[in-house]
């Protein structure tokens, strides 16, 4: 199918990305999404009623906000007549929202779409074990005091032991490994040293701190009024450490394999609360409504791989993207590759550069190419800024487009690994 119409990103806004349990811990995911969406609409110079569809990514799916995209949209002041739905492609959810929006616009189903993601990892609940749930059901059915007493008598301490939703969510259902364990596999197979990972992590913090100090990050951020008193805002990203040091990183113990591992809390992405929203519009809508343009979406691609090595997702997705668009890595001026783990990023660097890997796994004669660190995550990444799972894709696209403008770069690539064994990638053009 020949793609004739270009799809623009006309505005973007994100909340501060703050470490779970800190500043924004009490802000529900739908509230984070609301603030980001409202601001994106304002920055686009659009009226809420001009948005045809709202698509939001979210993985925790909080029980009190079913179809969180709709909740976000209504609270952001969009009229009841708009439609909205929520997508879940795990870490790639926001990117998927973007891809869906582009698809709908190209199919002529919409002219303006709001796409984004929101996640409150602080808000992910603790669950009662299944055994407790069964006993509570029996309790509800019990009619007599004696029957109720019987149920209580059958309860054991193990019934009260909470299941940490967050940990369950970060564990792959099919292969049984948690995300960190997949990173350890990559570290081993690609021979990535602890020092190499720590050095990468340090650089991420350094770059993020510099970007925060220079006001570069503030360009992206909209402040969030903080409940319950609403007398202050969350204004800045929390989690990045301007004073991060090699020594401090070296002191940390590996988290996922205590004895032989190299992946620590310091060289992994942080558990974070945050939301981001992008406004997409068809070229015709841009002209007609005189909208500003941050950049253009050329194409997006997703690909599957072994869940146990999900961290290599970017390699697979980018291979597919390059094939479809005819673009090569050397054409790309700036890259955002999500830092789920330092080991995972470094493994991608090696896989991208390896001709053998390309032949064996990507069906290519030639390697994808060398990733130049000077063009990679230039304002820091998730190791410093955090990874609110459903929202990260929106931040990557926003920060990439802004940086492409600042540096006058023609093509940009945003890519991430996806828990469950996928990768996602999107190719962006300068405004």
């Amino acid at each position: 199918m020949v793609v004739t119409e270009r799809v623009a990103v006309v505005a973007a806004a994100r909340t501060p990305f703050t470490k779970a349990g800190t500043v924004q811990a009490a802000v529900p995911a739908y509230e984070l999404g609301r603030v980001a969406l409202r601001e994106a609409v304002e920055r686009a110079g659009l009226l809420p009623e001009e948005i045809d569809e709202v698509i939001f990514g979210n993985i925790a799916q909080p029980a009190d906000a079913t179809n969180i995209a709709r909740v976000v949209a209504l609270r952001a002041g969009l009229p009841r007549s708009m439609s909205a739905y929520t997508v879940n492609r795990n870490c790639g959810s926001a990117l998927q929202a973007l891809a869906d929006g582009v698809l709908r616009i190209r199919a002529g189903l919409a002219r303006v779409v709001a796409a984004g993601g929101t996640e409150s990892m602080s808000g992910i609940p603790l669950f009662f074990p299944e055994s407790m749930k069964a006993k509570m059901a029996r309790l509800a059915r019990a009619r007599t005091p004696l029957a109720r007493l019987e149920v209580f008598a059958s309860m054991r301490p193990a019934d009260l032991k909470p299941v940490v939703g967050l940990l369950v969510g970060l564990t792959d259902n099919v292969c049984g490994l948690n995300m960190g364990e997949t990173a350890e596999i990559l570290a081993r197979e690609w021979k990535i040293s602890r020092e190499g990972q720590d050095a990468f992590a340090l650089e991420s913090h350094r770059r993020a701190a510099a970007a925060q100090k220079s006001g570069r990050l503030a360009e992206e951020i909209v402040p969030v009024p903080l409940p319950p008193r609403y007398d202050a805002f969350a204004k800045e990203d929390v989690g990045l450490r301007p004073d991060q040091s090699t020594e401090a990183l070296a002191k940390l113990k590996p988290v996922f394999d205590r004895r032989y591992g190299t992946v620590t809390a310091g060289n992994s992405s942080q558990i974070t609360d945050g939301a981001g929203a992008l406004i997409l519009a068809s070229e015709a809508a841009v002209r007609e409504k005189e909208l500003p343009v941050l950049g253009w979406v050329r194409d997006a691609a997703f690909a599957g791989l072994d869940p146990a090595r999900m961290g290599l997702g970017p390699a697979f997705a980018c291979a597919r993207l390059f094939e479809r668009t005819g673009v090569a890595l050397r054409d790309i001026g700036l890259i955002e590759l999500n830092e789920a783990f330092a080991a995972q990023v470094i493994a991608n660097e090696a896989a991208f550069a390896s001709e053998r890997f390309a032949a064996e796994h990507l069906g290519r004669l030639r390697a994808l190419g060398e990733i130049d660190r000077a063009r990679l995550n230039v304002n820091g990444g998730a190791i410093a800024l955090g990874h609110p799972v459903g929202a990260t894709g929106a931040r990557l696209v926003q920060t990439l487009l802004l940086e492409m403008k600042h540096r006058d770069v023609e093509l940009g690539l945003a890519t991430l690994c996806i828990g469950g064994g996928q990768g996602g990638a999107v190719l962006l053009e300068r405004a």
Partner: protein
């Protein structure tokens, strides 16, 4: 009157029996009997959105009750054919017209008699409340066997008579305590409180809370006995209180004490009279108690406070029709913005959010944005704590606000409030910036208190859309907004701004562009004179006390501290430039402000403030005036020196066309400065004293400098500002 057991309460003044009900569509109440034999008394006054219990309506009601008996109805339901309305009270025009206690008592007895008929009606009676149910409307409902309320947002129930200077005179002071208990009744009656449906149900004011739309069906079921409904009863505690005399007296005397601490009987007699009427219900038989209520109502109806409060009520309704301004040319305003997130900006943002209007809040400093959020959030936190606002509704309000440090999000706003610092250059710059981003027909409204709108708009590309919307501090308490037309402001823009002020729930007055507009100009004379007396040695606490005795919510020195001595200082310069020879000179403000004593906001001014409470007068203030010997001018002198120059200046304002009508001056003073409502306003006070007497007094006070000299404008009003 066949079919009644027992006679209605005896009064000396029985009504004459009019002939039977003829067909008369004009009055607005009729009887329908449905196929099951349920009688429906339906209110629908033609030509207005409310139903009232005017005398014609009451007369008709009497006749309808007779007819209902003749037709042997199974029961009666009182309901309204108007949507979102029940009966909003008696007719205010009639209340206004009563000028002697005997007539007042007679009207009250008449109403009591009719409602007593309702109460003694043998078959069951029900009131179906689907909107405002206030005053006489609630008294009617109280006379019924049961009260049903639909759970609509428009429902408000209560006895707010004291707010008009009268008391519930149709039996409310007797029936309400018996229905909901003494304590609940006092809480409602003495403050004139009105509550929404759910709260009314909790308090026992209504017996059932029904989903909207099902009211008539449920009422029919209750009347026909198909649905059981127990009328609410007072709690056990309240029943004990009612039965045990010393307990009852304790509660009553405590209520009197609490009331006296809040309000002065010589200023606002009505709540005290209402309490007397409630007390009268104990220790005498019902007939005597009702008569006593009627008697007390007669007294209340002739108090000056009642005249003032009723007049103010009608005057503020007149604010909805500004003279000479075509309100129908106002453009719809759906999206707002405010530039300058200070105290006023934050208050305006709160106000917009309260009315469900999205508002973009802009400032150049992130800290200011936070302050604006905190101002608004503080108001909401208080309301949530007092259970007047649910957390869910609070979230909705927070969601109306969005914040920015630049001009994104201004493209589609209909009206922008400019509330930045009081500096002409800054305001002009802000205006220029806004003109670059807003729509051509967007209205730009400045909240300036001392600068000229015409001046601010001097360099504007489209000066016709620049107007003034001057709010008063604090925004959430002061109802007044001065709507200022600049020399080049277009009627549409002014009308749009005026309509916006109304939509935000404020009372606007239309004011021409001029130094101090209306209220600050008058206050300049009041405060200027106070400062002059201060410099001569007058004691601030004594002076403030004299003015609060007069009825002002606070005296001039506390007011100066509240305004902020730096702000006041700036304003005096502007005023002095315009009215120099008429205003007294003073140096105290500059000295205190220069030393950093800015009043309440800095903790010290004329008084010291601890935890936001006023403490003693400060030594710094005394030093700033050179510590003269204490001088206590006679109370009358203090009052006259402070108030009469305002009257003089108000006459000038009317002559110059600053405002069109004397009632604009009075609304401005009452709603913008808290001038005592029980006096009706500055000019009603002037008329009560007699303008001629005021002119004489001013002549005696006048010194060589031109201060106090009565203006020609004032002399020409010697017959009174409000000539009939």
């Amino acid at each position: 009157m066949s079919g009644h057991e027992g006679a209605p309460p005896q009064t000396r003044l029985d009504f004459n029996e009019p002939p039977g009900p003829g067909p008369d569509p004009g009055v607005g109440v009729r009887l329908e009997v449905d196929e099951e034999g349920v009688g429906w008394i339906l209110f629908d006054q033609p030509g207005r959105p409310v139903n009232t219990l005017s005398t014609p309506v009451m007369e008709r009601l009497r006749a309808l009750l007779d007819e209902a008996v003749r037709r042997n109805v199974k029961g009666l339901v009182f309901a309204s054919d108007k949507n979102d309305m029940f009966v909003a009270g008696a007719e205010v025009e009639e209340i206004a017209g009563i000028a002697d206690p005997a007539t007042g008592m007679q009207k009250s007895a008449y109403g009591q008699a009719i409602l007593e008929t309702v109460s003694r009606f043998a078959p069951p009676t029900a009131a179906l409340i689907t909107g405002p149910c206030l005053g006489g409307g609630f008294e009617l409902a109280l006379a019924c066997t049961v009260r049903l309320a639909e759970n609509r947002d428009s429902v408000r129930i209560g006895l707010p008579e004291v707010k008009l200077g009268i008391i519930p005179g149709f039996g409310g002071t007797q029936r309400l305590p018996r229905r909901i208990g003494l304590r609940g009744a006092l809480d409602l009656i003495l403050a004139g409180k009105t509550v929404p449906a759910r709260s009314a149900f909790r308090r026992g004011m209504v017996d059932a809370l029904i989903p909207p739309g099902l009211g008539r069906q449920v009422a029919r079921e209750v009347i026909l006995g198909r649905r059981r409904l127990e009328p609410a009863r007072p709690s056990r505690v309240d029943r004990v209180i009612a039965a045990v005399p010393w307990l009852r007296n304790f509660v009553l005397s405590r209520a009197r004490k609490v009331l006296a601490a809040k309000v002065r009987p010589d200023h606002y007699p009505a709540p005290f009279l209402a309490l007397d009427a409630v007390v009268a219900g104990f220790g005498r038989d019902t007939t005597a108690a009702f008569r006593r209520e009627a008697e007390i109502e007669g007294q209340a109806l002739v108090t000056p406070a009642k005249d003032s409060l009723v007049w103010l009520f009608r005057a503020s309704n007149r604010a909805k029709e500004p003279e000479g301004l075509p309100l129908d040319r106002a453009r719809p305003v759906r999206r707002l913005a405010v530039v300058g997130a200070g105290v006023m900006g934050g208050g305006i943002a709160w106000l917009a959010a309260e009315k469900g209007l999205p508002i973009r809040v802009k400032d150049v400093q992130a800290g200011a944005l936070e302050h604006a959020l905190a101002t608004a959030a503080g108001n909401w936190a208080r309301a949530v704590r007092r259970r007047r606002l649910t957390p869910r509704d609070r979230s909705r309000r927070v969601e109306q606000l969005s914040f920015t440090l630049d001009t994104t999000g201004f493209r589609h706003v209909d009206l922008v409030f400019e509330a930045v610092v009081e500096n002409l250059d800054v305001k002009r710059k802000v205006l220029a910036e806004l003109e670059g981003v807003v729509r051509e027909d967007a209205v730009l409204a400045s909240n300036t208190s001392s600068l000229s709108i015409t001046d601010i708009a001097r360099d504007a590309g489209h000066p016709e859309r620049v107007v003034g919307l001057h709010f008063f501090n604090p925004v959430h308490r002061m109802p007044l907004v001065e709507v200022i037309a600049g020399a080049r402001s277009a009627a549409e823009a002014v009308a749009t701004a005026y309509r916006t002020a109304l939509d935000l729930g404020k009372t606007p007055i239309l004011v021409q562009d001029g130094p101090g507009f209306l209220v600050n100009r008058l206050l300049a004379f009041y405060l200027g004179e106070a400062l002059h007396l201060f410099e001569k040695g007058a004691d601030p606490e004594r002076t403030d006390g004299i003015l609060t005795d007069f009825g002002m919510p606070m005296g001039p020195f506390e007011l100066l501290d509240q305004i902020g001595l730096d702000v006041a200082e700036k304003v005096t310069h502007v005023m002095a430039a315009a009215f120099g020879d008429r205003l007294p000179s003073q140096a105290v403000l500059a000295r205190l402000a220069g030393e950093g004593h800015l009043g309440r906001k800095s903790g010290r001014g004329f008084y010291a403030y601890e935890r936001d409470r006023r403490q003693a007068a400060t030594l710094e203030a005394d030093r700033a005036r050179g510590a003269p010997a204490r001088w206590d001018p006679p109370r009358e002198d203090v009052l006259d020196r402070l108030l009469l120059p305002m009257v003089n200046e108000a006459a000038r304002c009317l002559e110059e066309g600053v405002v069109h009508r004397p009632l604009d001056v009075d609304l401005g003073m009452v709603m913008g400065t808290g001038f005592p409502p029980f006096r009706g306003g500055l000019l009603r006070y002037a008329d009560a004293r007699g303008v001629g007497a005021i002119v004489e007094r001013l002549e005696r006070l006048a010194d060589g400098t031109g201060r106090f000299r009565p203006s020609e404008a004032l002399r020409s009003r010697s017959g009174g500002f409000y000539r009939p």
